[in-house]
């Protein structure tokens, strides 16, 4: 029976309507895709984490460098040791002569241009510096080392590059491997797809893809990683749209910065700029062809061909890329063989996550002024005060000391440790070790934990006494047994570490020998509240009740806080808040914040100066003399050891040259340790200071202080030709004068 014409018409009308609806939907979809393509490409393409930099190494005539420091810092910056300098990023260090081809850097205040320079050293000190024309140079500022980043939640990181930044042969290598007809196709390559289909058909499985670079970019930039039908459906049209809107070079540049090339913990390495630093420790434009070949080869599978984990596999892939280059005539067979014979030359320097404790501080300071989003999204550049050499040596000193303590006392698995190092004259924090392992990003014992400070409080008692106009270094103090009644009816009887009392002792000796009873008596005569006031003025503000036991350090401070207090004492009584950040700029270098030098007079300059001499006597004669096992005798050690009850905490805080450092050691559960301040913390301190450049840079003597030869036994000033100890006194209240023997 023939179909009813009305029904047929109805069917075709339905098909037509369906097609119309489909066409409209497709049209809407394409308009939407087009908008997506343009919005993302023309808008804010990436969220860039803040880059955190170390302090730049500044070289100038007269600067003292530690043994090995220069080579270390250059290696950390990715400079290559060569016999002859050809390009930026190279150096030659022989005997006392450094030839360097600097890279240049855009600092906040000026741009350092890339240049060849020569530095002559003598006994670790810079003797002269000049450029290739023989012109004397006053200052060479190397680029600062990148030490970390503050990441958005997706943890993507990248170092943006432009096409101009690429090394010779890079584009050719990339296109030869990934997309040979890139500059000819419309965003997709039918020929490439046909070729891939043929290969896949032959293999019976999917072994090759026909993606162009444009398609790869669409996939990475716009779409999710899921292999869904929807994603596949829209990938090609989006590639065509992208190709239609933008130039080939624009697309290529975005691809170079978007491509994923590895993972370091949570941090995703994107783009060739960052991958070059991550794998080779060099900027991209300094890479040789075999290094470029490795990076390009890794696109196929960044995890599978990760050269750090699978060097053999990565080398095979690199060599295959080099063979492709030979096949397309980019290099000769001989060149190919030569390049294939080269090792991978991966960097041993880990750029990130090496200084977790220091980065804690950086975040802490920045979060006072910046929103978290701004820090993780805007590509800010944060210039900090960290000294990579000092930090390296701090970690090393800690490790060596802990190993040595384990040998001496057996396994101390509960023992923790922390260290803070700062610049004596401005309070810049140079290094922080937050736990015994140094690189562990967990509990930060330098910042987050407070412990009783023990005898570290005694210098504050002496400072209060010296400023009070009632005491000088020879004032007699009674060290005989002492009983102090408590408000609850009990009594407190402080005792000396050796269990003995020492009768009447001159004030300086009570500190040098760390006599508890004499110092408590001194503190009580001044008033506990006055001592605590002085402590607060030095840089830590807490509401401590004025109990007598405070005078033996029954108050808790973190290593960072202790360092702040000693920093002020080392700086002639001038308080500089410990600082971590110097400048913050936008990604384009525009200054956002400068953290200025801050200073406040917190203690009497004469009293502080005299106290410094007492602290130096502790190094010469007292509980800190063990530091000279590491340091030359001409170096100053001025500081104080601290050991709390039952040896629960081992402290040393002190200064030498231009450095102030505080070390703490103790068990995580505050149980007794086998360590005193001298046998524990001081060992780390001595080891560290022995590796830092020493500038004999004591603070000028303030007006109003005179030095006299003295007889400590009688507490009098004696003739200069008598035998005795030379000590400083405030001009207004020197001790009585006497003859040599009286």
């Amino acid at each position: 029976m023939a179909q009813h014409p009305h029904k047929a018409n109805k069917f075709w009308r339905f098909v037509w309507q369906l097609l119309t609806v489909l066409a409209v939907c497709t049209l809407v979809l394409l308009i939407w895709l087009d908008a997506q393509v343009r919005h993302r490409f023309e808008g804010h393409r990436w969220t860039l984490p803040a880059k955190v930099y170390a302090r730049p190494l500044e070289l100038y005539v007269g600067k003292q460098l530690a043994d090995g420091q220069l080579a270390y810092e250059l290696q950390q910056l990715g400079y290559r040791a060569v016999q002859q300098l050809h390009k930026p990023g190279q150096y030659r260090l022989q005997n006392n002569r450094l030839e360097i081809y600097t890279r240049g850097f855009h600092f906040v205040d000026a741009s350092e241009v890339s240049n060849r320079q020569e530095v002559i050293l003598q006994a670790g000190r810079i003797l002269s510096m000049h450029d290739t024309q023989g012109q004397d140079l006053h200052l060479i500022r190397l680029e600062p080392q990148l030490i970390g980043g503050i990441y958005p939640s997706h943890n993507e990181d990248r170092e943006l590059v432009q096409l101009d930044d690429l090394p010779a042969g890079f584009i050719q290598t990339l296109l030869a491997v990934e997309d040979r007809t890139y500059y000819e196709h419309l965003g997709i390559s039918p020929a490439g797809i046909a070729r891939a289909m043929a290969v896949n058909f032959k293999a019976g499985r999917i072994v090759q893809g026909g993606s162009t670079i444009t398609q790869q970019l669409v996939k990475n930039f716009y779409l999710s990683a899921e292999q869904t039908l929807w994603r596949k459906l829209i990938e090609a049209p989006m590639a065509l749209l992208l190709n239609n809107h933008y130039s080939k070079d624009e697309i290529l540049e975005v691809y170079l910065n978007e491509v994923f090339l590895g993972q370091q913990g949570k941090r995703a390495i994107h783009g060739f700029g960052l991958a070059s630093w991550y794998y080779f420790g060099q900027p991209l434009n300094e890479l040789a062809l075999h290094q470029t070949a490795l990076l390009v080869g890794m696109i196929k599978g960044p995890s599978y061909y990760n050269p750090k984990r699978y060097p053999q596999r990565a080398k095979q892939r690199r060599d295959l890329v080099l063979k492709i280059l030979a096949d397309v005539g980019m290099i000769s067979d001989t060149e190919m063989q030569d390049l294939q014979s080269k090792p991978l030359q991966l960097t041993k320097v880990t750029q990130y996550s090496r200084y977790p404790a220091y980065m804690d501080l950086v975040r802490q300071q920045l979060q006072q002024a910046y929103k978290t989003n701004d820090l993780s999204n805007q590509g800010l550049r944060v210039f900090t005060t960290i000294d990579p050499w000092a930090q390296y040596q701090a970690n090393k000193a800690m490790q060596k000391s802990l190993t040595s303590l384990t040998t001496q006392y057996g396994d101390q698995n509960k023992l923790q440790a922390a260290l803070v190092l700062s610049q004596r004259h401005n309070g810049e924090v140079l290094a922080v070790v937050g736990d015994r392992d140094g690189g562990y990003a967990g509990h930060n014992w330098a910042l987050d934990d407070s412990r009783q400070v023990g005898s570290l409080i005694k210098p504050i008692i002496h400072l209060t006494a010296l400023a009070s106009e009632r005491f000088h270094l020879l004032s007699p103090l009674d060290d005989s047994p002492l009983t102090i009644p408590q408000p609850d009816g009990s009594v407190w009887q402080p005792a000396n570490y050796d269990g003995q009392s020492h009768g009447v002792v001159p004030m300086y000796q009570a500190l040098v020998k760390s006599y508890n009873i004499a110092n408590v008596r001194l503190g009580m005569s001044l008033g506990v509240d006055k001592v605590l006031e002085q402590l607060s003025a030095l840089g830590v503000k807490q509401n401590w009740e004025p109990y007598p036991s405070r005078l033996l350090g029954a108050l808790e401070l973190s290593p960072m806080e202790v360092n702040q207090v000693y920093q002020t004492m080392a700086n002639n009584g001038f308080y500089n808040p410990l600082s971590i950040v110097r400048d913050v700029t936008k990604a384009n270098g525009q200054l956002l914040s400068h953290y200025p030098y801050q200073v406040r007079q917190a203690a009497d300059p004469q009293a502080t100066y005299i106290l410094q001499q007492e602290l130096a006597l502790i190094g010469r004669q007292g509980t800190a003399r063990g530091a000279y096992a590491y340091l030359p005798t001409e170096q100053i050690v001025a500081g104080k050891t601290g050991t709390t009850n039952d040896q629960r905490d081992s402290w040393f805080s002190g200064f030498s040259g231009r450095h102030v450092a505080t070390v703490w050691m103790g068990n995580t559960d505050a149980t007794p340790t086998p360590l005193t301040g001298s046998s524990g913390a001081l060992q780390v301190w001595g080891r560290l200071l022995s590796k830092l450049p020493y500038e004999k840079d004591e603070v000028n003597q303030p007006p109003g202080v005179d030095w006299f030869r003295t007889n400590p036994t009688t507490g009098t000033i004696i003739d200069a030709d008598c035998e005795g100890l030379v000590l400083p006194f405030n001009q207004t209240r020197p001790p009585a004068k006497a003859n040599c023997d009286n």
Binding site: L27, L30, G62, I206, A225, L233, A236, P237, E634, V699
Partner: protein, 225 residues
């Protein structure tokens, strides 16, 4: 109502764009199915859609208002080279007597010259700071002076320049503290002593402390005698 010419142009452009889109769709629908193989594909991370960045808020302010030199910094020709070596007796030798001058008079302490080094580079940096200040770039001037301070922390000239900069900027408390620091380093240099006390006087005047100002001026006068 007829469309205007501009509306018509827009309409035309849209239609042209849609035509391109339709062509693209035709090819795209076919090719997308075999676009790529999974083995060679680069890894892709999930990401949220971008949000446009908010302007970054500035950190601790350093005012950029024009600075006026209210006090001339002393024209000291050289750098301070007077640093006293007090800690030079190692170990037990500290107690050993050394030849001393006249009995019962203060013991002279030796001078320690700062490395010449620092002198040249610090002079350069101070000059650069002066230039920056003249160019109305006070932040850069401060950065240069802080750089100089790191190299030669004992140099009063650096503190003098910094203090003057801050005072001119109205930061009188900070200026006074810097002057005090400078003063502590210039014990043997009356020119600086005079300068710092006058700067302290000016800072106190700015803070409304007339008595303190007079006291500071008296100290300056004392040094001038």
């Amino acid at each position: 109502m007829l469309p205007t010419s501009t509306q018509f142009q827009l309409f035309k452009a849209t239609i042209l764009n849609l035509r391109q889109v339709l062509v693209v769709l035709f090819f795209g629908a076919f090719l997308s199915a075999c676009a790529s193989g999974p083995v060679a594909s680069p890894a892709v991370e999930e990401r949220s859609m971008d949000t446009y960045p908010q302007p970054v808020k500035a950190g601790p302010p350093l005012t950029s208002s024009p600075m006026v030199d209210k006090i001339a910094t002393p024209r000291a020709t050289g750098l301070s080279n007077l640093s006293v070596d007090k800690f030079n007796s190692p170990g037990a030798q500290a107690l050993t007597p050394t030849p001393m001058p006249t009995p019962r008079t203060p013991v002279a302490t030796p001078n320690l010259n700062l490395p010449l080094a620092s002198q040249e580079v610090v002079e350069q940096l101070v000059l650069q700071a002066d230039t920056a200040k003249a160019n109305n770039e006070p932040e850069i001037a401060v950065i240069k002076l802080q750089q100089a301070q790191r190299i030669a922390p004992q140099e009063p000239k650096v503190y003098a320049r910094l203090a003057a900069l801050y005072l001119a900027d109205g930061q009188a408390v900070r200026a006074e503290q810097l002057a005090r620091k400078g003063l502590s380093l210039a014990a043997t240099q009356p020119a600086y002593g005079d300068f710092f006390w006058r700067l302290i006087a000016a800072s106190r005047r700015y803070q409304g402390d007339t008595e303190g100002e007079q006291a500071a001026l008296a100290r300056a006068a004392q040094l001038a005698q």
